[in-house]
């Protein structure tokens, strides 16, 4: 619930240029020079800031090193890794809402996770460099939802700003199709865009290993193991921590994964907990940990309560 409130506040802070609604315009002020640490399209009529991936492509096109962008993204990553994906990104929140639809769910092959690095390097990097065009933006489903469709509405209202826009282009049709496909996928699969396609998530994920915010594991404080006592077999069979992971990760062994968005859903059973600092992994007693393995919990099972 706390995360939902923060996601809502983030949505409002980044997209609250409400003047654009009655005037069918969009924000063009100085704040657009600031990059937000989330995938939020700068062309959204309500947006105050710029999308980091759009900005990155712009700098690739003008052949300049984006020092400011590198610094901002690096510092955000250094503090929380992919925390912004789990707590601030409105597009991630949107996918979580869609997943609540009561339809049969499916599982995706694990190798698809690597797709986001291919998209980051090939589409955002190489293709943009070669063609001088921001190709990721052209097909970004977040951009279609936050900018493409609102601009269609603005054009229908006869906005002066929408003059010259043609919504019958092949690219626009493809964008809308990709958004519809993603929504359909998000209904059956948790956060598909964040898991398989988001280049910003790929960048932040690299910082997960050394960010200040870390997740650690301590079976001694696991509520499930405590309740089941000697009946508790092991974490791999229990899977309570993993049940609500929006990224489809297996807790506790994947709590340090580059895909973890630090949503803290896995912390509700007491075995996984967060800490803030540069010290290596430790359990709650301060003892240094090794990486948890799938069989973790087969030894030292806590005694059942009397």
């Amino acid at each position: 619930m706390k995360r939902r409130i923060i996601q809502f506040i983030s949505l409002i802070i980044t997209n609250s240029y409400f003047t654009s609604i009655p005037t069918a315009s969009f924000y063009q002020g100085t704040l657009k020079g600031a990059c937000v640490p989330i995938l939020n399209c700068y062309a959204c009529p309500l947006a105050w800031g710029s999308c980091p991936i759009g900005t990155l492509q712009h700098f690739i096109i003008v052949r300049a090193l984006p020092f400011y962008l590198i610094g901002v993204l690096g510092l955000v990553g250094l503090v929380g890794g992919r925390w912004a994906c789990g707590w601030l990104c409105p597009f991630g929140w949107f996918q979580e809402f869609v997943y609540k639809l009561k339809v049969p769910k499916i599982k995706a092959p694990d190798w698809l996770r690597h797709m986001k690095y291919v998209i980051l390097v090939l589409v955002v990097g190489v293709v943009t460099w070669v063609t001088f065009e921001p190709w990721f933006c052209k097909f970004c489903p977040a951009g279609t939802l936050e900018a493409g469709l609102p601009w269609l509405a603005w054009a229908a209202r006869g906005s002066d700003y929408a003059e010259g826009m043609t919504f019958t282009t092949g690219i626009f049709a493809l964008k809308v199709f990709m958004l519809v496909a993603l929504v359909a996928l998000a209904a059956v699969l948790q956060r598909p865009f964040c898991r398989f396609a988001c280049p910003l998530g790929a960048l932040f994920g690299l910082a997960n290993k050394f960010s200040l915010l870390q997740l650690d594991f301590d079976l001694d404080t696991c509520a499930i193991a405590y309740a089941q006592g000697s009946d508790f077999e092991n974490c791999a069979k229990c899977m309570h921590c993993s049940k609500n992971c929006p990224m489809g990760l297996k807790a506790p062994e994947q709590i340090g994964s580059v895909d973890c968005i630090r949503c803290m859903n896995c912390t509700s059973y007491g075995s996984v907990f967060w800490r803030f600092g540069t010290a290596p992994s430790r359990d709650r007693t301060g003892e240094r940990m090794i990486a948890p393995a799938p069989h973790w919990g087969t030894k030292d099972v806590p005694e059942a309560p009397d």
Partner: protein, 45 residues
């Protein structure tokens, strides 16, 4: 200790990147990109 030093160095370098980027005009370059709609980007041109 080593982790703390590496982390501090990274934080200093990244902060320097932000400051240097602002000094050389990255903010205004981002603004010039963000404050106009790229029609081809949103697929309407």
């Amino acid at each position: 200790m080593v982790r703390k030093i590496v982390f501090t160095l990274l934080a200093v370098v990244l902060s320097a990147c932000v400051v240097y980027g602002l000094v050389i005009g990255d903010f205004w370059e981002t603004l010039s990109n963000g404050a106009m709609i790229c029609l081809t980007c949103i697929g309407v041109a």
